[in-house]
C-alpha cells in the first residue's frame, strides 16, 4: 500500500484503493456465508448412509474435556448400515458465525451442542430435526426417566422438542470460607442477610457482590436476571414477549443498585472480563459472588477448596429462584442419516458419564444416574447445586415460561443486555428507567411469534 518515493499516486490507483477499502468495510459485516436460500432439507430419511456423521461439540470444560469427549465419540461402533461419526471441537470464539455459516452453506454437522439458545434460533428457521422421535425411543429404556425432573420440557417448542438437555449452566452464590470467617459473619440466607455480610466484608476491604460484565463476560447480565427470578420476576411473559418493567424486577434492580451505592460492588465490575473477576477472587478482593457452577474448578488450587456454594437466597417476597441454561444437543435437518444420528445420540447420552466422573469441568449433568455416581457425590458444591439450586432454577423465559424460545435470543449475551447490566452496575440510572430502556429495545427486536 505504501508508494515508493517519487511515484505519483494516480486518481485511478487511489479509487482502486478506496474501492478495496470499501469492500473490506462492508465485508466486516456481511460474513453470512452467502446463499441464503439453502433449504437444508436433505434429511437422510429412513435409510442408512455410508457418509460419516459430523458431531460438533464445544469446549465445555477444562483441557481434559476434549480428549475425554473425543474418546467417547470415537469409541462409537455403529450398527450395520449405520454411519460412523467424525468428531470436531468448535471454539466459543465466533461460534454463532461458525454454526450459522455452516447451516447456510449446508455444511452443518448432523448433531452438535452449541449456545444454549442456538437450537431455538435454528428451529425457527426450519433447520432443526425435532427430538420427539428420539425422546420417544428413550421412553422404552431407562434413559428418558434418567433426566432430572422437568429438564426435558425446557426444550419444548410448539412444534416439538428442539433439542435434548446436555449439561446445566447454573448461576449460584459462592462465598470464600476464610474471608467470611475473617469478617466474622455466617453465610447469608436471604437478601437482607446478604447485605449484612457485604457490609462486614467491606470493613475488611473485600467486595461482597463479585460479578463481571466486561468484554466477553456475560455472567453479570445473568446475575441480574437471576435476581429478578429470585423475586418472582423475569424478562418474558407467557406469550414469549418481553415484559421487563414489573414491580418484581424494579424491586430486584433497586436492591442491586443499593449494593452498588453502598460500595459492596467493585466499581470496575461492569467492565471486568471473566479473567479479571477470577484474579479478584484469587487476590482475596471478592468474598462472595454469583457465578457459574464451575467457579471453584476454574480457579483451582487452594482457592477451590476455600470456595463454598451457599443455599439459594430467599427473596423479599419469600421466594427462591435462580437462572440456569439447559445447554443442549441438537440434530439438524440436513444430515446424512437421521436414524444414524439418533443412534449416535442414544449411544452418546448412554456413555457420556466420564465427562463428569473424570472431572472435566463441564457443568452439572442432566442425568440422575451421573449425579448418583460416587465421583460426582464427592464434590459437595456440585451436589448442593443439583440438590438445592437446580430445582428452583428457571430459564431466561421466566416468569412466563420455563422453556427456551426464539425471543430469548434477544437477551442472551446481546448488546441490549450488556448496556442494561453496565447501567445498573455503574448505578447510572434508576431501576425503572434502565428496565424501561431495556423493554423498549427488546420489544423492537422480539418476533411476534417468538
Amino acid at each position: 500500500m505504501t508508494q515508493p518515493s517519487g511515484s505519483p499516486v494516480t486518481r485511478r490507483g487511489f479509487l482502486g484503493l478506496a474501492g478495496g477499502a470499501a469492500a473490506a468495510t462492508v465485508l466486516t459485516a456481511c460474513n453470512s456465508g452467502g446463499g441464503g436460500g439453502s433449504t437444508g432439507g436433505s434429511n437422510g430419511g429412513g435409510g442408512g448412509s455410508s457418509t460419516p456423521l459430523k458431531f460438533w461439540n464445544m469446549p465445555w470444560g477444562s483441557t481434559l474435556f476434549l480428549p475425554t469427549d473425543k474418546g467417547i465419540a470415537e469409541a462409537y461402533k455403529p450398527a450395520a448400515g449405520m454411519p460412523s461419526v467424525t468428531y470436531q471441537q468448535i471454539q466459543w470464539s465466533n461460534f454463532v458465525q461458525t454454526f450459522s455459516s455452516a447451516v447456510a452453506s449446508g455444511t452443518n454437522p448432523a448433531i452438535s451442542s452449541g449456545g444454549g439458545t442456538q437450537a431455538f434460533l435454528f428451529e425457527s428457521q426450519g433447520k432443526i430435526t425435532y427430538a420427539d422421535n428420539l425422546l420417544n425411543s428413550w421412553k422404552s429404556g431407562k434413559l428418558y426417566d434418567d433426566f432430572l425432573p422437568g429438564l426435558i420440557d425446557t426444550m419444548k417448542t410448539k412444534n416439538g422438542y428442539a433439542a435434548v438437555p446436555y449439561n446445566l449452566d447454573m448461576r449460584v452464590l459462592w462465598y470464600s470460607k476464610s474471608l467470611l470467617q475473617k469478617a466474622g459473619v455466617a453465610p447469608p440466607t436471604d437478601w437482607s442477610s446478604f447485605e449484612n455480610v457485604c457490609a462486614a466484608l467491606k470493613k475488611i476491604g473485600v467486595y461482597g457482590y463479585g460479578t463481571y460484565a466486561g468484554a466477553g463476560g456475560y455472567t453479570g447480565q445473568h446475575n441480574l436476571v437471576a435476581h429478578m427470578i429470585n423475586n418472582g420476576g423475569g424478562l418474558f411473559d407467557a406469550n414469549h414477549q418481553p415484559n421487563c418493567v414489573t414491580p418484581e424486577n424494579i424491586e430486584a434492580m433497586d436492591w442491586v443498585l443499593g449494593l452498588v451505592k453502598n460500595g459492596y460492588v467493585d466499581p470496575r465490575a461492569a467492565t471486568y472480563t471473566s479473567a479479571n473477576a477470577q484474579s479478584q477472587w484469587k487476590a482475596g478482593k471478592f468474598g462472595m459472588g454469583f457465578d457459574t457452577g464451575g467457579l471453584a474448578q476454574n480457579l483451582g488450587g487452594t482457592f477451590a477448596k476455600d470456595l463454598v456454594v451457599t443455599s439459594p437466597l430467599v427473596g423479599p417476597s419469600g421466594k427462591k429462584g435462580a437462572l440456569f441454561f439447559p445447554n443442549n444437543i441438537m440434530m439438524y435437518k440436513k444430515n446424512p442419516s437421521q436414524p444414524g444420528t439418533e443412534a449416535f445420540a442414544t449411544y452418546y447420552f448412554e456413555n457420556m458419564a466420564p465427562l463428569w466422573t473424570k472431572f472435566t469441568g463441564i457443568g452439572p449433568p442432566p442425568l440422575k444416574s451421573i449425579v448418583a455416581t460416587k465421583e460426582f457425590q464427592s464434590d459437595p458444591n456440585a451436589v448442593k447445586i443439583i440438590k438445592e439450586w437446580q430445582p428452583i432454577s428457571k430459564t431466561f423465559g421466566a416468569p412466563g415460561q420455563n422453556t427456551v424460545f426464539l425471543n430469548v435470543t434477544t437477551v442472551d449475551a446481546t448488546p441490549a443486555m450488556n448496556t442494561f447490566t453496565q447501567t445498573i452496575l455503574g448505578a447510572r440510572s434508576s431501576a425503572k428507567d434502565a428496565l424501561t430502556a431495556l423493554q423498549s429495545t427488546l420489544k423492537a427486536q422480539a418476533k411476534p411469534n417468538g
Partner: protein, 318 residues
C-alpha cells in the same frame, strides 16, 4: 548490395521470405489488437478472481442491506427501511461520534508520536537499531496480545496504572469502567498500536531529505523550529497525507482494538460503527441494518479519503 537489402526488407514487410510468399507482417492496427487480446488473456483470470472475491460479496451485502434477513435467510425486501432505521437510531449517531473521536485521536495522535520518534531516531543513539525494532513491537504484536496486555495494565485495582494513580493520590481511577476514561484509554491504546506505522512512513520520508537543506537553513540563521516548520514538514507532507488516508481507513474499520479491550462498553461509550455493525449482525442477528451501517461507513470513508487525496494532489502541484 544495398538494393538487395532493400528488396529483402521489402519482401519481409510483405511477408515474402526467401522461400516465397508467406503471411504478411501485421499492420500497426492489427498488432495493437493482437496485443490487446494477449493482455486481456492475462488479465481476465485476475479480474474474474477480483470479481468473485470483492464484487460478489459487495453486491450481496448491498442486497442484504435492503432485506430484513438474518445470518441464514435473506428475508423480505424492505427497500431503504434499514438505512432509515439506522439513521434514526441514537445508537448509530453515538457510535458515529465515537468513531470520529477515535479516528481523529488515532490519526493525529499516532502521527505526532510517530513524527517525534522518527525525528529522535535521526540522531545517532547507541543501540538505535535495537530501539527501532522495539518501537515496532506495538505494530507487529497481534492485537489479541496487545489487548490482553492493556487489560492487565488498567483493568483491576492491582493493575500497574491504577496502582500508580493511587500512589499519586487518585485511588479510584476507572480506566475502563468510566465511560469518558474508557474512551480515552481506547484512543491511547490505538495511538500506541499505530505510531510505529507512522514512524516508518515519516522515517522513510526523512531519509530522502538532503542534509544540505538543513545546513543551508542553518547558514541562513534559521532556528530549529523554523527548520522544522519550513523544511521538515513541507518535505514530509506528501507521505503525511498518504499516511493520514491510510490511518483514517485503519481507524474507521478498526474492530479488534475496541472489541477486545471493551467490547464497546461501558454502556456503549466505546462502540464504534464497526463494532456496532458487528453487534447488529452477529449479536442482534439483524443482517440488514448491520450491513446498512457498514455501507454508510464506507460512504463516509470514501468521501474523507477523496478530500485527503485532493490535498495530496494540491501538494504535488505546489
Amino acid at each position: 548490395m544495398a538494393d538487395t537489402i532493400t528488396k529483402r526488407v521489402g519482401r519481409a514487410g510483405r511477408g515474402v521470405g526467401s522461400g516465397g510468399a508467406g503471411r504478411a507482417a501485421p499492420t500497426k492496427a492489427s498488432r495493437v489488437g493482437h496485443r490487446g487480446v494477449t493482455l486481456a488473456a492475462f488479465a481476465i483470470p485476475s479480474l474474474l478472481l477480483l470479481l468473485l472475491i470483492n464484487l460478489y460479496p459487495l453486491v450481496y451485502a448491498g442486497f442484504q442491506s435492503v432485506h430484513n434477513g438474518d445470518l441464514i435467510s435473506v428475508g423480505d425486501f424492505v427497500g431503504l427501511d434499514n438505512y432509515v432505521a439506522v439513521l434514526k437510531s441514537p445508537d448509530f449517531w453515538n457510535s458515529a461520534k465515537f468513531t470520529l473521536i477515535f479516528t481523529i485521536c488515532g490519526v493525529f495522535g499516532s502521527w505526532l508520536l510517530g513524527l517525534a520518534v522518527a525525528l529522535l531516531l535521526r540522531t545517532k543513539i547507541p543501540g538505535g537499531g535495537i530501539l527501532k525494532v522495539l518501537l515496532l513491537m506495538p505494530w507487529i504484536v497481534p492485537v489479541v496480545v496487545s489487548a490482553t496486555a492493556w487489560n492487565f495494565l488498567v483493568a483491576t485495582p492491582q493493575s500497574p496504572l491504577p496502582v500508580i494513580a493511587s500512589a499519586l493520590g487518585q485511588p479510584n481511577v476507572l480506566f475502563l469502567a468510566d465511560p469518558v476514561l474508557a474512551q480515552i484509554t481506547v484512543c491511547v491504546f490505538k495511538i500506541w498500536i499505530s505510531f510505529p506505522f507512522m514512524m516508518i512512513m515519516i522515517s522513510a520520508s526523512l531519509a530522502a531529505v538532503d542534509p544540505n537543506v538543513y545546513e543551508a537553513a542553518a547558514v541562513d540563521g534559521a532556528t530549529s523550529w523554523q527548520a522544522f516548520t519550513g523544511n521538515t514538514l513541507p518535505i514530509i507532507s506528501r507521505s503525511t497525507y498518504i499516511s493520514w488516508i491510510l490511518m483514517t481507513i485503519f481507524c474507521v474499520n478498526d474492530f479488534p482494538t475496541i472489541f477486545l479491550l471493551t467490547q464497546g462498553g461501558p454502556v456503549g461509550a466505546t462502540t464504534s460503527l464497526a463494532v456496532l455493525s458487528y453487534q447488529t449482525v452477529f449479536a442482534d442477528m439483524q443482517t440488514g441494518p448491520g450491513v446498512a451501517i457498514a455501507f454508510l461507513m464506507t460512504l463516509v470513508l470514501v468521501v474523507v479519503s477523496v478530500i485527503l487525496y485532493r490535498q495530496i494532489r494540491k501538494v504535488e502541484v505546489e
